[in-house]
C-alpha cells in the first residue's frame, strides 16, 4: 500500500477532510445552525445566560460522560452504575461537608481495613494453599468469615450517631444553621471494649477476607512491591492517628473555612468513590470480561443496589447542599463586575449585561474545562495514556511487554468513578441531592456520548455541551413560550420535553452518523 509522503497544503487537507467526513461536517453545521436559530428566538439578553447555563449543565454531564467514555473505550464496558456513582459521590460529599465528624469516624476503620489489602501479594502463598483445596467454596468461606469478623470489630469502633432526617426535614433552618456556623460536632463515642482488640480484630478479619479473595486467582509474585508496603504502612498509621487525635481533628474541621471544607469534602468523596470504583472493577467487572452483556447487566444491578443503599443509610434522602460561602455572597459590593470578580465572594457577576451565577456558571464550567484539558493531556502525552490507548486494542500484549495491565484497568475504572464523584459533589449545591439524580444524569451522559462518538474523549465534551445548551434553550422556551402562527397562546414546552428533545437529537444524529460526531468508524 502506498502512503502519502509530502505534507499537504491547507486547502488540500480541507478538501481531503471534506471528501472523507462530508457527512460529519454537514451534520455539525446543521446542528450548529439549529442551535443558533433556537437562540435567535430568545431575547438577546437571554443569549449569554442561556449559553452559560448550557455550559454548566454540559460540564456536569461531561464529568459523568468522560468517565463512561474512558471505561467504555479501554474495557468495552458500558458502566450503567456510573450515574449511581455520581449520586453516591454527591451524598458522600454532602456528608463530608456538613458532618465532618461522621466522616472522620468512618475514615479510621476504613483506613485500617485497607492496610492488609495493600499487601495483596503477601497473601498469595496462603491463597494458593486455599486454592489447592480444589473448591471455590473454601475461598468464599474465608471471605464470609472475614466479613463477619470485620462486622464484629466495626461494632466496637467509636462512632458518633447522627440523624440525617433532621436536616432533610427543615432544609431552611439547616441552611441557616450552616451559614451562621451553629452546626456543632456530635459528642465523640468510645470504643466498645479494649481499643487494641478492636483494631487487631479488624486487621485480622480484613487479612482473612483478603486471603479468601486472593485464592480465586493466586498467580503472581509472592513479594509485595515497595509501593504496596508503603501504602499499607501509611494507611495503618493514618487510621491509628485519626483514632488518637479524633477530637482535635473534628474541632479543626468545624472551625475550618467552609469553602475550604467544601473542597476537602470534594477530595474525600472523589477518593472514596475512586476506591469503590476500583473495587467494582475487581469484584464485578473482571470476572466477566468474556461476557460483555453480563457486564452490562451486573453494573445495572449494582447501580440498583447503590440506590437502595443510599435510601437505607441516609434515611429520608432528599437533601439540599449549601453553596460554599466563597460563591454565595450577597449585599455590599455584589454583584461583581466582570470575570475578575469571580473570587470576590459574590454569588453573581454582571457580564455582557446579564447576571451570571459564579458557582453554577463559572466555577463548575471552569472545573469542567480543567478536567477536559487535564485528562486529554494525560491520554495524549503521558506513558499511562499510551498504555491506555494500547490496552484498548490488546491488553494481553501490553501485559507481555511488562506492564501490569490489571492495575491500569483498575486505575482507569477508579478514575472514571472519581470523575463522576467530582461531578456529583459539584452538582450537589446546584441541583440538590436525591437518589434518582444519578439515573437522570446517566441518561444525559449516554446521549452526550452517543452524539459525540461513544469512545471519543473530546466527543464526550462536544456531546455534553450540545446536550446542555439544548436543554437550557428548551427550558428557557418553557418560560417564554414559542409563538406559533397557528396557536393563539405561545407554545410552552413542558418539562418532560427537555429530556425528550435531547433523545430526539441523539436518534437523528445516530441515524445519520452511527458513530457520532467525532467517533471512529468501527472496523
Amino acid at each position: 500500500m502506498t502512503t502519502a509522503t509530502a505534507k499537504p497544503s491547507l486547502g488540500d487537507r480541507w478538501s481531503k477532510a471534506w471528501t472523507r467526513d462530508r457527512r460529519r461536517i454537514i451534520v455539525a453545521a446543521v446542528v450548529a445552525a439549529l442551535l443558533v436559530i433556537g437562540l435567535g428566538g430568545l431575547d438577546p439578553e437571554d443569549w449569554f445566560v442561556t449559553i452559560m447555563r448550557g455550559l454548566a449543565t454540559g460540564a456536569i454531564t461531561f464529568l459523568v460522560a468522560s468517565g463512561l467514555s474512558l471505561i467504555l473505550g479501554l474495557m468495552d464496558v458500558l458502566n450503567l452504575a456510573h450515574g449511581e456513582l455520581f449520586m453516591l459521590g454527591a451524598y458522600l460529599g454532602w456528608t463530608a461537608y456538613i458532618r465532618p465528624d461522621t466522616t472522620v469516624d468512618l475514615l479510621a476503620p476504613i483506613l485500617i481495613t485497607i492496610a492488609p489489602f495493600a499487601l495483596w501479594a503477601l497473601w498469595r502463598p496462603l491463597g494458593r494453599k486455599v486454592a489447592a483445596l480444589g473448591s471455590r467454596w473454601a475461598g468464599w468461606l474465608l471471605v464470609a468469615v472475614g466479613l463477619g469478623g470485620w462486622w464484629w470489630a466495626w461494632r466496637l469502633f467509636p462512632l458518633a450517631i447522627w440523624d440525617p432526617s433532621v436536616y432533610a426535614e427543615s432544609p431552611i433552618t439547616f441552611s441557616l444553621a450552616f451559614d451562621i456556623g451553629t452546626l456543632v460536632p456530635l459528642p465523640a463515642g468510645t470504643f466498645g471494649g479494649p481499643a487494641l482488640i478492636a483494631v487487631l480484630a479488624m486487621l485480622v478479619a480484613a487479612s482473612i477476607a483478603a486471603v479468601g479473595l486472593v485464592s480465586f486467582n493466586p498467580t503472581g509474585s509472592p513479594r509485595p512491591s515497595a509501593k504496596g508496603i508503603g501504602a499499607s504502612i501509611v494507611a495503618l498509621a493514618a487510621g491509628l492517628s485519626i483514632l488518637a487525635w479524633r477530637e482535635g481533628l473534628v474541632e479543626g474541621l468545624f472551625a475550618m473555612n467552609p469553602t475550604l471544607r467544601f473542597f476537602l469534602a470534594g477530595i474525600v468523596s472523589v477518593i472514596v468513590i475512586s476506591a469503590i470504583g476500583a473495587g467494582v472493577e475487581v469484584a464485578l467487572i473482571r470476572p466477566l470480561y468474556d461476557r460483555p452483556i453480563y457486564q452490562l447487566m451486573i453494573t445495572l444491578g449494582f447501580g440498583f443496589i447503590l440506590i437502595e443503599l443510599v435510601r437505607e443509610v441516609w434515611g429520608r434522602p432528599e437533601f439540599t447542599m449549601p453553596k460554599p460561602p466563597a460563591f454565595n455572597g450577597i449585599g455590599e459590593g455584589c454583584p461583581g463586575q466582570g470575570i475578575g470578580d469571580l473570587f470576590s465572594g459574590c454569588s453573581t457577576i454582571e457580564m455582557f449585561g446579564a447576571r451570571i451565577r459564579t458557582y453554577n456558571e463559572l466555577f463548575i464550567v471552569g472545573i469542567g474545562i480543567i478536567v477536559l484539558v487535564g485528562v486529554s493531556l494525560l491520554i495524549k502525552r503521558t506513558r499511562i495514556g499510551m498504555v491506555i490507548r494500547a490496552g484498548v486494542q490488546d491488553r494481553h500484549m501490553v501485559e507481555a511487554l511488562g506492564v501490569n495491565v490489571r492495575v491500569v484497568f483498575m486505575g482507569v475504572f477508579a478514575m472514571g468513578a472519581g470523575l463522576a464523584a467530582l461531578g456529583g459533589v459539584l452538582a450537589g449545591p446546584s441541583i440538590g441531592l436525591s437518589p434518582e439524580m444519578g439515573g437522570r444524569l446517566l441518561l444525559s451522559a449516554l446521549i452526550a456520548l452517543a452524539i459525540g462518538g461513544l469512545t471519543s474523549f473530546p466527543g464526550a465534551a462536544v456531546g455534553a455541551v450540545l446536550v446542555g445548551i439544548l436543554q437550557q434553550i428548551i427550558i428557557r422556551y418553557g418560560q417564554t413560550g414559542i409563538p406559533l402562527p397557528w396557536l393563539e397562546e405561545p407554545f410552552k414546552p413542558s418539562p418532560p420535553l427537555v429530556p425528550a428533545s435531547t433523545v430526539l437529537l441523539m436518534i437523528v444524529i445516530l441515524l445519520v452518523l452511527p458513530n457520532g460526531l467525532l467517533g471512529k468508524a468501527e472496523h
Binding site: 494481553h396 507481555a400 511488562g402
Partner: protein, 233 residues
Amino acid sequence: MSLLSLEAVNTHIGQYHILQGVDLEVGAGEIVAMLGRNGAGKTTTLKTIMGLHPRTGGTVTFDGEEIGELRPYEVASLGIGYVPENRAIFADLSVEENLRIAERERGDLARSIDFIHDLFPDLARLAELPGTSLSGGQQQMLAVARALVPENRLLLIDEPSEGLAPVIIEQMMEAIRSISSDTTVLLVEQNFVVASRLAQQYVILEEGRSVAGGAMADLVDDDETINRYLGAG
C-alpha cells in the same frame, strides 16, 4: 547451564488439555526452533512461558528461578521479550510509541534506538506514522524491534515468517541472526527452510508433548524424523 528450561509442563485451555508434558532446554546464546504440526501446542508453549496461559503442571525455570506462577508482566520484567503470532501492533500508537511502550525504565529506548534503526532502517523513516499504516513485513519488524527495546535476555518469537513475502523473510532472518549475538532466541517456525537456516537446536512438539530434540544440523539430514513429525518439508 540452560537459560530457560521447561519440565513436564501442562496447560489446559478451558476443558482442553493442550500441553501434556513439554520438556525444553534453551541454552544461553542459542537459537532454538520449536517445530511441529499445527495444533501441536507450539504457540501455547510460548504463551505458557509468558504466563499468558496459566500452567496447570510442571515447572518453568528461567535463569535458575521458578517463573511458572508469575503474571505476564512479571515474566516480562525478568528480561523475556515476546513477539506474538499476530504481531499485535497497536493501531492507535505511532511507530515510535509502539516502541516506547515496551520501555521498562526511562531511557531504554534512547539506549537501543540506534541499534534498532540500524537493524530496520524502515522504522526510522516511519517513526511518526500510526502503527496500522505499516505493511505486514514492516509490522513484523516493528514487533521484533519492540522486543529489543528493553534489555531482554531471551526472545520468544512466534512465526516470524508467516504471511511474509520471500524477500521480506530474508531480511527478517538477517535481523534475527544479528540479534542472536547477544540475546537467546526461542523460535516457533512452520517454514522448515527458515527454521533450519536460523537455529542451532530444535525441539519437536506433537500433540502437546515434546517428542524429539537435538542439534539442527542432525535434523536436516534425518529424513525419517522430518517425515514422521513434520510431514514433507
